[in-house]
């Protein structure tokens, strides 16, 4: 267990300040008694209350992340702490003055002292508890927002995969010297691809026709790089061309097909992207003739597919779903089903 000594010191000083205030109030009510009496008793009892509760909370809090006990222990800690501190504090203060508060004559002040101790002990403990909880929640919130921005960065990084960018640029550099016309064409496609990727987070949906155009840009870029190892077919029936879909929804699937299907295959292979209408359902299919994978493998879902699933769920709820089939040596097919009517 790691103890934060700075916060311990902070709590100690705050407790002492509170005790000074309590003793000042007591003195105001009974100005005929010397100020030293309430001061010493208050500081002694306050010190033990702080020591017992602030250190006692750690062994009692178990797995609680706030650092404070929960359940029945949450009541036992201040109860035990306050009673123990009351007895110990009075004993120490008594020895300071050289008398005993338990004697006949002095005993009468004890109930009111206990009441003051109980009330102030409970309220200070509650104050420290809420502060701990507050800073814990604050830490949680900043952790969650850090994770969110990390996920955003990761998404962008997968879309603008540096390996793909630099390889494309390397190809472009070759073409500039050997085939300027093709170089220009490749550059245009790259500009379109980059523009679409960078603005994908802003526009949430576009026509299926646009989606297929962006996929063609990407596949053309890859085709320059892979040469005869990549063949592709895009099949979009005209009546579905204007149907709206989330932007670049299919992009991660095409990337997966290339990265996990065709790139590892010596001979490369083909990718077929089709849109078709099945009753009230729009089916978008990305299938490759790459190396495939074993369906019995524990299904490890990559970032790409998980992201597609999430976006489908966000846009269509239960009405959008994904299925994936694969045969080792023959390729992989991913089908997205989404409702045709919004």
């Amino acid at each position: 267990m790691k103890i934060d000594w700075l916060s311990k010191l902070q709590y100690f000083l705050q407790t002492m300040a509170f005790c000074l205030a309590i003793s000042a109030i007591q003195y105001a009510f009974q100005p005929e008694r010397p100020y030293e009496y309430p001061l010493v008793y208050s500081l002694c009892i306050g010190f033990f209350t702080w020591a017992l509760i602030d250190f006692g909370r750690h062994p009692l809090s178990g797995n609680s992340e706030i650092g404070w006990p929960t359940g029945i222990r949450a009541f036992l800690l201040p109860l035990g702490g306050i009673l123990g501190a009351f007895v110990l504090g009075i004993l120490v203060a008594d020895s300071w003055f050289g008398w005993s508060s338990w004697e006949e004559g002095r005993r009468a002040t004890l109930p009111s002292a206990l009441l003051i101790t109980a009330l102030s002990g409970a309220s200070v403990t509650y104050y420290f508890y809420t502060r701990s909880k507050g800073s814990y929640l604050e830490a949680q919130v900043s952790e969650v927002s850090r994770q969110a921005s990390e996920a955003k960065l990761k998404l962008l990084e997968t879309q603008l995969e540096p390996h793909m960018l630099f390889n494309t640029l390397a190809n472009l550099r070759v073409l500039i010297a050997t085939d300027p016309q093709r170089a220009q064409d490749m550059l245009d496609r790259m500009v379109a691809y980059l523009r679409a990727t960078l603005s994908a987070s802003r526009a949430s949906s576009h026509a299926l026709e646009r989606e297929f155009e962006r996929l063609r840009d990407y596949l053309e870029l890859m085709a320059v790089r892979m040469g005869p190892r990549l063949r592709y077919v895009l099949d979009l029936p005209p009546e579905l061309a204007s149907h709206s879909v989330p932007t670049l929804l299919l992009q991660p699937l095409v990337e997966n097909s290339i990265k996990h299907g065709l790139e590892p295959a010596l001979q490369g292979g083909g990718i077929t992207i089709t849109a078709l209408r099945e009753g009230t359902v729009l089916t978008l299919q990305v299938s490759d003739t790459g190396v495939g994978f074993d369906n019995q493998m524990p299904l490890v879902e990559g970032f790409g597919l998980a992201q597609v699933r999430e976006r489908l769920a966000a846009a269509y709820g239960d009405r959008g779903w994904v299925e994936r089939t694969s045969t080792p040596g023959h390729g992989t097919t991913v089908r997205l089903h989404l409702p045709l009517s919004p």
Binding site: P162, H163, L165, F166, N167, L169, A170, N171, R173, V174, L175, V224, R225, M226, G227, R229, E263, P264, A265, L266, G268, D294, Q296, M297, P328
Partner: protein
């Protein structure tokens, strides 16, 4: 007297980039003859064995076998460096963007080129290569150094994965729990990994690389690209006439081949 021609092999899966590298090399090093250009790791090994070039330009990401794996495989197959044998080729790795690979190359002082390859950078590499090739007497030492570099490059970085204690192997319709403490050897076989214990053999689908991240490297030694054995179970090491090293495990009849990359583990004290 004519100086013997320097020869090279290029392994790069993107046809345009292979062409470009060849063209750049022709400018930077006119005396270099590129014997062949291949598009995948396995062919690279095969062609390098057949053509025995002086320099290899290996792309890192290639279908089938990566450039690094191909280099290790070639080091294993290369005829043992006796007198009159050809020295192991000088290696240059080529990559578009591999942050970790580049860091590792720097750490291991392995030559590499970044794509797009730039003339000035290529010129430096060429000068380095020419200098190294001018000192053929150091061939044997260089080969040992190359083996060490490849070994370090292929070693997966220390992972924080929790150590594996039990292997879940499917047997028939059920799952058999095999304590890692009973395992003598893991061997990659096609799409499976064979798990050998004293009395049985299991097949699992978890890739060997993934398993190795969860095994204690002090307890399990890698002796080949596809073989990891329990160090304390090793009985003997023998070398055959062909120079291959074989390893026997206590209690198993099977013999395992030790790759040259890992032969340094077995030197007499």
């Amino acid at each position: 007297m004519t100086t013997p021609l320097t020869t090279a092999l290029i392994a790069e899966d993107e046809p345009l980039l292979a062409q470009a590298l060849q063209a750049e090399l022709a400018r930077a090093w006119p005396a270099l003859k590129v014997l062949a250009t291949v598009g995948d790791g396995a062919t690279a090994v095969q062609q390098a064995m057949a053509l025995q070039p002086d320099v290899l330009f290996f792309d890192i990401r290639m279908p089938g076998m990566s450039g690094l794996e191909a280099a290790a495989e070639l080091a294993d197959q290369w005829p043992s460096a006796g007198l009159g044998e050809r020295a192991f080729p000088a290696l240059v790795f080529v990559t578009a963007y591999d942050q970790y690979a580049v860091q590792a190359f720097e750490a291991q002082a392995v030559d590499y080129l970044l794509k797009p390859v730039q003339a000035a950078r290529l010129q430096k590499t060429v000068e380095k290569l020419q200098l190294a090739l001018a000192k053929p007497a150091q061939g044997a030492i260089n080969f040992e150094a190359t083996l060490g570099q490849l070994r370090n490059l292929l070693a997966s970085p220390a992972s924080a994965a929790t150590p594996l204690t039990v292997i879940q192997a499917s047997v028939g319709n059920g799952i058999r729990m095999v304590p890692v403490a009973d395992v003598l050897c893991f061997e990659a076989a096609d799409k499976y990994v064979r798990v050998l214990t004293l009395d049985r053999e299991y097949l699992i689908r978890t890739p060997l690389k993934e398993l190795m991240d969860q095994l204690d490297p002090q307890v399990f030694w890698q002796i080949h690209r596809g073989t990891v054995v329990r160090a304390l179970a090793i009985e003997s090491i023998t070398r055959d006439e062909a120079g291959k090293t074989h390893l026997a495990l206590r209690g198993l009849k099977e013999r395992f081949i030790v790759s040259r990359l890992y032969a340094h583990l077995f030197k007499a004290m």
